[in-house]
Every structure is written in structure tokens, then in C-alpha cells.
């Protein structure tokens, strides 16, 4: 096979993330391209959690897909939840101790989900035991069942190393990855590399895991390479394997962030953890940072202290998701009024309210652009993938400081919790532009209105005294309510939007992928990019239609003229938008800002990612069956 898709599932807390990390590293080591998305409940231990991974011998995959060829299930719930997501001669790796488990014996599954799965089983005439599902998959789908006795392997391990029986569940993830690697025929060295690089510095655990791998591959000797994967042809010598949260943290470090305040919230908190770990250089390299990370008492404090730090000249940022951002909005307005360069990294998740804290969405576009009282200039940018996220996280500070506005970097849970192998970004390309800085002595006026952008001095600069106020102020920063001053200062601030439109280069506003003379165009933003670009490739290859994807990178100020130029010749019917939301808000923004109407919408609001096959089917039904809106629902 050129590619393989895998689901790894089990209860939250059973090492699902560890499995993802080990496998990603093992496959990358051999030169495969990987992408893996993580689904989990808002829960610490016990609820169903799973990974959908795609491994390619030919490319760096940009989206995940269903059905898969391998399911590795550490519990019965995984088999019940995903049995209809595996097809066509793959392998189901499971624990034989779960064979007799029945659907109603799975306490961690929601009743509604049980009923849904019961209906599915009944429609196929199956009774509700794992064993009958396995039998069905073997007969109807040609799936090879690979039953492993987890308990006996673990007790053998426990005897060998005198392990505490209470700790044995920690080793389940290694049974899963060892089995997967055996079935695919990944040579020992690669998985051992994965295990070693994941558990480095934890000598004992490493020793146990290596022994465990030996045991599993020995027991599965007869299953070796039953699903062989082609030798990789990527020709990349070094790759990075990281999550979207990691990508942003790395971008911030390289981009000169020096202060980040945050309040813990899913799916943003991991970014701050990575920043904290790498934000002050290595022992041998004290030139980096330090970045001060402050965990605050709430999101209001996070953004307020971020603004405070920015006033002293430090590149400052915060990271949050929808509910936290809502709390930040008053201070965002203060930053707008006082022309403070700050960066807010905003990872969208399912709303409204607490909504789906651990699932994804792109339903906060309007919130990012229009929240906050009063009118002021802001910039909203988004990133299509990990590589973009690194560069954009650094560039966000340049934009903030050049135009002296708050910048919102709008991302989502899909990117945050997706692990991907990417090329190492070209660091030499990253510029640091601090904008206009006051250097000429004399009387300082922070809000000098002779220009939309006033030279910045920093609180603490020798011999300079600066005033800031959220109230309307004069050039010095003192409160003034005079109408003439109001006009002058209001216009000074608002004119930045024109300046931003004029000065930000095209490739930071939008990027076009696919054919240069397209018959149809998909328009989207953020993490929609990968699946849309790959769906275009499928459309060209399979049905011979030429499409292009417009990845909108700057969402505010909206690049109306540039977008109009691109879609100019395409008929309205052939303009399609894709977004994780109910309303496809990007279409509204296009209508509002560019007077553009769209012919088709591909949306999804289950909180689960777009899968390539469903996205491609939706695209075809819009292009060929005159569908106007396709709502996608794939994924458990």
C-alpha cells in the first residue's frame, strides 16, 4: 500500500497520546509522512479517546481519512464505537479478554451513543457482543482479527520486572503500537527508536517497554507484514514531528516573544506548557529568552498583564479559546484605544457556552473580528497547517508592532491537537520588525497624530514619561473630550485599517492552491486547508475537474479586492466555501466585505474533523448534483 489509515482507541488516560507519539516518531524515522488527529472527551480518565492517523509513503499527508485499514483497540468500547470505520481487508487488533463484552456492559459510553450503536448493530443483524462484531468484520469486510491476550502479556512483564500490578495499564499503549508496527512490517529499529525517543530519560520505563515490544512481536510472529506499506519516497532528510500547539509555541519563541500570560483552558494550555519548557534556551545557550510565562487568576488578568508587559516593550502574548476570549474582550478594546501591540492566540472549540470543550470548530470568526465595544483597528490572521502556524506565530508580533494594534491569531482545536510531520521551516526567513520606535529625544507624545502610526517609546525609557488611558485622550495620553480632538484621534486609529490593507503583502493575506485556471474555487481559512487541497487533487485525478483553493490568511481587515480578483471569472455557482460551523460565516464576511455570493457550502458542526473522503463527496455533490449546502457528519 502507498498509504495506511489507523485508529488507535481506548479509555482516556490509557496512553493513547503515548501511542500517537511513539508511532509518529517511528514512521517519521523511516521517512514516512504522518498526520494524526486526537479525539477525546472533557475527562481525565475513563472516557473513550482515540487517534486517527494517516501514514503515507509518497507525501506529507495534509488530512486524515476514514475508513481505516487498522483499528487497534485496547477496550470493547473502541470496537463498538468504530467497527463501521474499517473496511476492505484490514486488521482489527484487540484484547481477547474483551470478546465476550456486550454493548450494555460498557459503563463509560453515553446512553445516547449506546442506542445509536445498538441501532447500527441491529440493522446488520448482529447481537451486541464484541465477538459477533469481530466475526462480522471477518466475514463481510475481510478484516483480519488479531486477538491478543493483554492480561497474560502484562503479567509476564510484571513477573519479569516485579512491577506493581496497579501500574500495568500504563503499558497497554506499547502493546498497541507494537502490534501495529508488526502488522505493517515496520522493522524493529524504527519502533524501538520511537519508544526510546519518547521515553528518554526514564530508563526503567524504557527498559520495560523495550521488553514488551519483544514479547508482542514474538507472539504476533505469524502476522508480520500482513499489511505491508511501500518504502517511503519522500526524500526529506530531517522532519519535525509536532502538534499545532507546539508549532505556535515554537513560532513565538523564534519570533521573540518575551512574556506570555495564560489561564488554563482547552485546547490552548499545551501551548504555554511547551513555551515554558523551551522558552529559556538550553543550558549551553543562554541567549534565548527568557520568556516569562505567567499563569494568571483568570483570562482578564491574562490579557491585562499581557498589555502591561507590551507597554514596556516586551513582545507579549496570551493564548486562549472561545470562553476565555470572551472574558478578554473589554481589555482588547483598551488595547485598541491605546494602540498596544499584543498577540492573542485563539484556539476555537465547539460552542456556544462550554459547548464541546475538547472538540473543534471554526464558529468564532465573527467573534474574533467584531467583538469588543467601540470601533478600532485590529488584525485577525489564521493558519492553515503546522508550518504556517510556526511562521504566522512569529509574524503576528511583527504585524502587531508595525501597526500598533492587537492581533488575533485564530486557530482551532483540530490544528492544536493534530500531530504532523513537517519540513523544518526556513528560520533564516523569519524577520523581526519592531515598527516605528522613538529615538530622537525631545518632548515625547505617545499618540503623536501627525501619522496614523506614532513612534513608540516604552514605559521605563530614560527621561521619558508616558500616559495611557482607556478614555479618549490627546497626543500626550491625557483624557480629553473635545470634539475636534475626538475626530483627530478617532481617525488616526481607524486609518490604520487602510494602511494594513495597503502594506501587508499578498501572500500574507491569502494563498491560492491548485490549478491556475480553475473551473471551481473553494474558499476557506485555517485548518480547512489540508483537506480542501487534497480534495482538489482527488477531483482532478478522478473526475478531471480543475479546482483551486483560496486559503484566507488575513481575515481582518478582509482582503476584498484581492479575493474579488481571484474569483472574478468564476460563476457564483462554482464558488464553494468550507467551514466548521453551521452558518459558514466566511460566506457572510465575503458578502459583507466583497459583495461576493457563493454557490455551495460544506459545513460540519459535530466537532469532529473533516475527513478527506466525506469532503470530496460533498465537493462532488455541489459540483455535479447542484447541492447548495452539504452538512458533514463522519466520525465518532
Amino acid at each position: 500500500m502507498k498509504e495506511i489509515n489507523i485508529i488507535i482507541g481506548g479509555p482516556q488516560g490509557s496512553g493513547i497520546e503515548t501511542s500517537m507519539s511513539i508511532l509518529s516518531r517511528a514512521f517519521t524515522r523511516k521517512g514516512y509522512g504522518i498526520i494524526a488527529s486526537r479525539e477525546y472527551f472533557s475527562n481525565i480518565v475513563g472516557r473513550h479517546s482515540y487517534i486517527v492517523m494517516r501514514v503515507s509513503s509518497e507525501k506529507l499527508p495534509q488530512s486524515i481519512d476514514l475508513p481505516v485499514q487498522i483499528i487497534a483497540a485496547s477496550d470493547a468500547e473502541t470496537v463498538f464505537t468504530h467497527f463501521d470505520e474499517i473496511r476492505g481487508g484490514g486488521a482489527l487488533i484487540y484484547d481477547i479478554n474483551n470478546e465476550k463484552k456486550k454493548l450494555n456492559e460498557v459503563p463509560s459510553m453515553e446512553n445516547i451513543t449506546k442506542q445509536r450503536i445498538r441501532r447500527k448493530l441491529e440493522s446488520k443483524g448482529l447481537d451486541q457482543a464484541v465477538s459477533s462484531i469481530i466475526e462480522y468484520l471477518r466475514k463481510e469486510e475481510g478484516i483480519k482479527p488479531i486477538g491478543i491476550d493483554f492480561a497474560s502479556i502484562l503479567s509476564e512483564l510484571s513477573k519479569k520486572f516485579k512491577l506493581d500490578p496497579g501500574h500495568l495499564s500504563r503499558y497497554v499503549s506499547t502493546i498497541l503500537v507494537s502490534s501495529i508496527s508488526t502488522v505493517i512490517g515496520l522493522e524493529d529499529d524504527y519502533l524501538l527508536f520511537g519508544i526510546t525517543s519518547h521515553f528518554k530519560n526514564r530508563e526503567n520505563i524504557l527498559k520495560h517497554n523495550l521488553a514488551l515490544y519483544e514479547m508482542v512481536s514474538e507472539r504476533l510472529h505469524s502476522m508480520k507484514e500482513i499489511l505491508p506499506l511501500d518504502t517511503p519516497k519522500l526524500k526529506i532528510e530531517k522532519m519535525m514531528v509536532l502538534t499545532g500547539n507546539d508549532a505556535v509555541a515554537i513560532g513565538k519563541i523564534v519570533g521573540g516573544a518575551r512574556y506570555q500570560a495564560y489561564y488554563p483552558i482547552t485546547p490552548a494550555a499545551d501551548e504555554s506548557t511547551t513555551l515554558e519548557k523551551y522558552g529559556h534556551g538550553t543550558e549551553g545557550n543562554q541567549d534565548i529568552g527568557p520568556i516569562v510565562i505567567l499563569q494568571t487568576e483568570d483570562e482578564i488578568s491574562a490579557i491585562s498583564s499581557t498589555i502591561g508587559a507590551a507597554l514596556t516593550g516586551a513582545r507579549s502574548s496570551t493564548a486562549t479559546s472561545g470562553p476565555g476570549f470572551d472574558l478578554m474582550v473589554e481589555a482588547l478594546s483598551w488595547a485598541g484605544a491605546n494602540e498596544v501591540p499584543i498577540v492573542i492566540t485563539y484556539y476555537q472549540r465547539g460552542g456556544p457556552s462550554t459547548g464541546q470543550p475538547t472538540r473543534g470548530s471554526q464558529s468564532d470568526l465573527m467573534n474574533a473580528i467584531f467583538s469588543s465595544h467601540g470601533e478600532f483597528a485590529r488584525i485577525v490572521i489564521s493558519s492553515g497547517d503546522h508550518e504556517e502556524a510556526i511562521l504566522d506565530a512569529a509574524e503576528a508580533f511583527n504585524l502587531a508592532e508595525k501597526f500598533q494594534v492587537p492581533v488575533i491569531h485564530l486557530l482551532d482545536k483540530f490544528l492544536a491537537n493534530t500531530t504532523a510531520s513537517v519540513k523544518i521551516p526556513d528560520i533564516e526567513k523569519i524577520r523581526i520588525e519592531r515598527g516605528s520606535i522613538f529615538r530622537n529625544g525631545g518632548e515625547y507624545r505617545r499618540f503623536d497624530a501627525s501619522n496614523s502610526i506614532s513612534p513608540r517609546a516604552f514605559i521605563g525609557d530614560d527621561g521619558i514619561v508616558i500616559w495611557y488611558s482607556g478614555d479618549e485622550h490627546d497626543e500626550i495620553g491625557h483624557i480629553v473630550e473635545d470634539p475636534e480632538n475626538r475626530i483627530k484621534m478617532y481617525e488616526k486609529r481607524m486609518k490604520k485599517l487602510e494602511l494594513i490593507r495597503k502594506e501587508v503583502p499578498l501572500n500574507e493575506k491569502l494563498k491560492v492552491y491548485g490549478f491556475e485556471d480553475p473551473e471551481f474555487i473553494i474558499i476557506g481559512w485555517g485548518s480547512t486547508k489540508g483537506v480542501a487541497v487534497e480534495a482538489l487533487e482527488s477531483a482532478a485525478k478522478e473526475v478531471g475537474v480543475r479546482g483551486a483553493y483560496v486559503n484566507l490568511k488575513m481575515l481582518w481587515p478582509f482582503p476584498s479586492e484581492e479575493l474579488k480578483e481571484i474569483v472574478g471569472k468564476i460563476s457564483e455557482k462554482k464558488i464553494i466555501v468550507a467551514e466548521h460551523s453551521y452558518e459558514a460565516n466566511i460566506a457572510r464576511l465575503m458578502a459583507m466585505e466583497a459583495g461576493l455570493n457563493v454557490g455551495g457550502k460544506i459545513v460540519k458542526y459535530t466537532g469532529r474533523p473533516f475527513f478527506l473522503s466525506e469532503f470530496y463527496r460533498a465537493l462532488k455533490s455541489i459540483l455535479f448534483d447542484n447541492e447548495e449546502k452539504v452538512v458533514l457528519t463522519l466520525g465518532a
Binding site: 527568557p290 502591561g308 519592531r434 521605563g460 508616558i466 500616559w467
Partner: protein, 314 residues
């Protein structure tokens, strides 16, 4: 020849005639003058309301922020540039109502900031509603009905939150107040001064007359020593301060309730976890670019992020 007016801007002050804030402004600028604070290295951070306007009247850096948020703004400023002297001014609604969470958090951090509470029992600028320090059943003249919410005890809350300098002053005892402010500035750590501030327009209970009769000075008490000189004394000194914090009405103590110089400041804690590169290379002072480029090159990048980088061995 330095003069107090050096620390005053020439803006017209729009507080009501007779407002306690005039006393606070005079005491603060006098303390600044006595300590010869460099205006460019000093920052007054305020919230919203009558007290919120004070930065505009003082000739040092001024940041007039949002209602309740002066402390978090000040926290970011101080952490990013620890060389600065930072004075937070807030009202009782500001610091103990909408901003109460931030007030508590500053104590936990023991960051080297001075917080001055303009405590007048009312929300003046919105016409005299009850503030978090107005006692239950009080009926000041701005209220239709007696206050049905209880009050919070600022001194007790500061002690419980971890402030390492806790004092109370009176707006119209300028000499005493400016001495307290100087000590608070010189203290390393989070300092809090509860300043009793008559609101001539809306608070007809806590008037200058009322305070003149009730106030007495702690330093005049036989054997009063608020300073923790040995770690073992900490609990006892806090308990004593708490007992004094409960006095209100007939007799109201002013002065220093508690002072503990031995608790590590937030700056010290940062220095520890950042292996000494802080405060030398504080966020506002450390280098982030070389000729318009990131200080990273491919080599430094790959060294720092080696955990994420995998060499392909196909």
C-alpha cells in the same frame, strides 16, 4: 531645589472640593519627592472611577486602565520591567469588588508593587451606590434603602492573601500617610495601604468628622511591633494584625499592621526558575533580533528544538 510640584502635572483636577483624594495625591507626590523617584522609572497604574484619574495628575508614567484591572496591568508592567517602581491606585469597588480576584492573586505572588485603596465606602462617580466596604444596613445619602450586602474587611483580606506589608492610612493625615507610602515603596514585596478617604458628596456616614474622632495610631500603642523578625513569629504577627483589623467604629487603628520582609518576592521566584537570567534579561530588556532577523539560525533552532526533530534513516 526640588519642589513637590515637580511630581504634579498642570491638569485641572476634577474631584469634588473637599474630596479625600486631594489628601492622597498630596501624600503620594510628597513620598515621591522624599524618595527622589525618577519619573521615567515610576508608574502609577489605576482603575476606573474617581481614584482612576490620579495618574493624570502625577508627573510620572501613568496607566489609567479598566475597572478592576489595575493590578493585572501593573503585574505585566512589573514582571516585564522589574526596575520600575509601581504604585497601583484603586477604589474599593475597583480593588475589592470587580477586581477582588486580582487583589488576592497579587498577595499570592508577592510581586513588588504598592497597592493603595481609596476607601470611601461608595461608588462616587456613578452617584453613590454602596461599595464592598460599606457595612450591612448602612444608609448613605446616595442610597434609596439601607445596604443589604455585607462588607469585606480590606486589611484582613490582604493578610489572608499574602501581602507582606499591610497598613492603613487616613487621607487627611498627610504626614502619616506619606510616611506609610514611603515604607510601602521601600518594602520588597506586595504592599497594601487601606486609605480611609471621605467622600464629601455621597458618604455622609464616614465623614472627616467621624474619622477624626475614631482614628488612633498603632505606633502609639505600647509594644506594637508589626515586623516579622524571625520566621517563627509569622503566625503570631498575622494573628495580632487580624485582631487589629477587626476594630472598627468607635476606635479605628491606622499605621502598619503587618510587615514581613523574609518572604521571597515573585521576582526572586522567577530568578530561581529561570536560572538567574531574570531579572538581568527581563522581558523588556532581552535581545530578540539581530539586524531585523530572529536571533535564531538553523543551528540554534535545531539544537533547542531537538525533541521535535527526527533525522530520517530510511
Amino acid at each position: 531645589m526640588e519642589h513637590e510640584l515637580n511630581y504634579r502635572t498642570d491638569l485641572w483636577i476634577d474631584w469634588c472640593p473637599g474630596c479625600g483624594n486631594f489628601g492622597i495625591l498630596a501624600a503620594v507626590t510628597r513620598a515621591m519627592k522624599d524618595l527622589r523617584l525618577d519619573p521615567s522609572k515610576t508608574v502609577v497604574v489605576s482603575g476606573i472611577g474617581c481614584s482612576g484619574k490620579i495618574p493624570h495628575y502625577i508627573n510620572v508614567n501613568g496607566v489609567h486602565t479598566l475597572h478592576g484591572r489595575a493590578i493585572p496591568f501593573a503585574t505585566g508592567i512589573k514582571i516585564a520591567n522589574p526596575d520600575l517602581t509601581i504604585l497601583v491606585h484603586g477604589g474599593d469597588g475597583d480593588l475589592l469588588g470587580i477586581g477582588a480576584g486580582h487583589f488576592v492573586a497579587l498577595g499570592r505572588r508577592n510581586l513588588d508593587i504598592v497597592v493603595m485603596l481609596h476607601n470611601n465606602g461608595v461608588y462616587g462617580l456613578t452617584k453613590g451606590q454602596a461599595s464592598p466596604t460599606l457595612p450591612l444596613n448602612s444608609k448613605t445619602k446616595g442610597l434609596n434603602l439601607p445596604n443589604i450586602q455585607g462588607s469585606v474587611n480590606p486589611i484582613a483580606l490582604a493578610l489572608a492573601s499574602g501581602y507582606t506589608f499591610v497598613a492603613r492610612g487616613y487621607a487627611f493625615d498627610g504626614n502619616h500617610l506619606s510616611e506609610l507610602i514611603k515604607k510601602a515603596i521601600q518594602h520588597r514585596g506586595a504592599a497594601f495601604i487601606d486609605i480611609l478617604q471621605p467622600c464629601v458628596t455621597f458618604n455622609d456616614i464616614y465623614t472627616a468628622d467621624f474619622y477624626r474622632k475614631a482614628i488612633y495610631k498603632l505606633e502609639g500603642e505600647e509594644g506594637w511591633d508589626p515586623v516579622v523578625r524571625e520566621p517563627a513569629e509569622t503566625e503570631e504577627k498575622i494573628l495580632r494584625a487580624m485582631r487589629k483589623a477587626m476594630e472598627w467604629g468607635e476606635k479605628i487603628p491606622i499605621g502598619i499592621f503587618y510587615e514581613n520582609p523574609a518572604i521571597t518576592t515573585f521576582e526572586d521566584r522567577l530568578s530561581d526558575i529561570l536560572r538567574g537570567s531574570y531579572p538581568k534579561k527581563s522581558p523588556s530588556k532581552s535581545v530578540i533580533e539581530k539586524d531585523g532577523k530572529s536571533i535564531f539560525n538553523a543551528e540554534i533552532f535545531e539544537e533547542l528544538f531537538k525533541d521535535f526533530i527526527i533525522e530520517v534513516k530510511g
